[in-house]
């Protein structure tokens, strides 16, 4: 019976430690010079593959990465939920104040030339007007509060927050 040589795949499996019948392999290698030679070739290749290549990064690599992250964070601050909430609240109250001050009918006239969209807008304004007419609120004071809130959010977002983040991003 002719001697069956090991395939490249079998040799690699053997060297990777994925072969269960290692004793059979060892026995075969003792009697087969060709396969022994092939194993030695692959062993040399494996050893060379495991040699570490020189890895050269600058000594300040980590510092540069951190400074880049800090710079990015200070340039693009994001909105927080409470800011969005206050902005929406402020806009809503502001709109209600305007409606209250100039009157719902005058507001409706603004949309008369806009066809179907104007009709829908007038209806929406009428609903809002009726709703606010039913509750007793000081709209002038609310408008002032809304303006103050919007101003504070604006100030915080564009001036205070970027500075604060730049300082506190990494404590």
């Amino acid at each position: 019976m002719a001697l069956k040589h090991l395939t490249d795949e079998q040799i690699q499996e053997y060297l990777d430690g994925n072969v269960s019948g290692k004793s059979w392999f060892a026995g075969h290698l003792k009697s087969c010079g060709d396969c022994k030679e092939k194993i030695d070739e692959y062993s040399s290749l494996y050893s060379a593959l495991e040699v570490e290549e020189k890895i050269g990064l600058s000594a300040r690599f980590a510092d540069v990465v951190i400074s880049k992250i800090t710079a990015q964070a200070s340039v693009t601050p994001g909105f927080q939920i409470w800011q969005i909430f206050l902005a929406v609240l402020g806009l809503g109250v502001g709109l209600a104040t305007v409606v209250y001050l100039i009157g719902i009918k005058s507001m409706g006239k603004l949309f008369t030339g806009l066809g179907e969209f104007g009709k829908i807008s007038s209806s929406v304004l009428a609903i809002i007007g009726n709703y606010f007419a039913g509750i007793n609120l000081n709209f002038g004071l609310l408008g002032l509060a809304a303006f103050a809130l919007v101003f504070m959010v604006f100030l915080d977002h564009f001036i205070l927050q970027p500075k604060q983040r730049a300082l506190s991003f990494f404590r």
Partner: protein, 190 residues
């Protein structure tokens, strides 16, 4: 894994030393991936920086469903691929598993033969590896230098486990054949 959890928690809370520690721990891994993909020495460090910036930006999304090293290596691999696409470097496409596709790619590769005078096997091998497609280089590196499993490498490269194993075996066989053919066997393998 517990240490990774603590480290990530500290980084998210803004601990700069923790993030520096992470960079130091995984710098070698990122370099192994990127250096095999990016040949331009000036760009290498920039790409490595991009990798760690992405790691920081996405750290809060890390769900611990894999090792942190696997997750970071995946970011590094994808960053490297994006870099190569921007540089319009042709990527090896072997989805069909066509026999001889790797050999064909190799023969089409015309990188300068700078190490032919090198007598050292490792240097010669490194030169031959540079001619391999990027997926093969990455698989060889992650398997032999980072000692990662087929499954981990599959997760990093986005290839099926079987393809990873097939690429690894084909790459090693081809490297052996090329080295033997190029340099005299008795001189090289001792």
């Amino acid at each position: 894994m517990t240490n990774s959890r603590e480290l990530i928690k500290k980084i998210i809370s803004g601990d700069t030393h923790a993030f520096k520690s992470l960079i130091q721990d995984y710098q070698r891994l990122v370099c192994h991936v990127i250096f095999k993909m990016v040949t331009n020495e000036q760009d290498r460090e920039d790409v490595c920086q991009d990798v760690f910036i992405k790691v920081y930006q996405n750290l809060s999304k890390f769900q611990f469903d894999s090792k942190l090293s696997t997750w970071i290596a995946k970011i590094a691999f994808n960053t490297g691929i994006n870099y190569l696409k921007k540089q319009k470097v042709p990527l090896f496409d072997d989805v069909s598993g066509e026999n001889g596709a790797l050999e064909k790619y190799w023969s089409e590769e015309t990188s300068p033969d700078g190490f032919t005078q090198e007598r050292d096997l490792t240097c010669r091998l490194q030169h031959e590896i540079t001619k391999l497609p990027v997926q093969f280089k990455t698989i060889l590196t992650l398997y032999h230098l980072e000692e990662m499993s087929y499954t981990e490498i599959a997760e990093i490269t986005g290839l099926p486990d079987g393809t990873v194993k097939s690429y690894l075996f084909r790459a090693r066989k081809l490297l052996k054949e090329k080295l033997i053919a190029k340099y005299q066997q008795e001189e090289l393998w001792h």
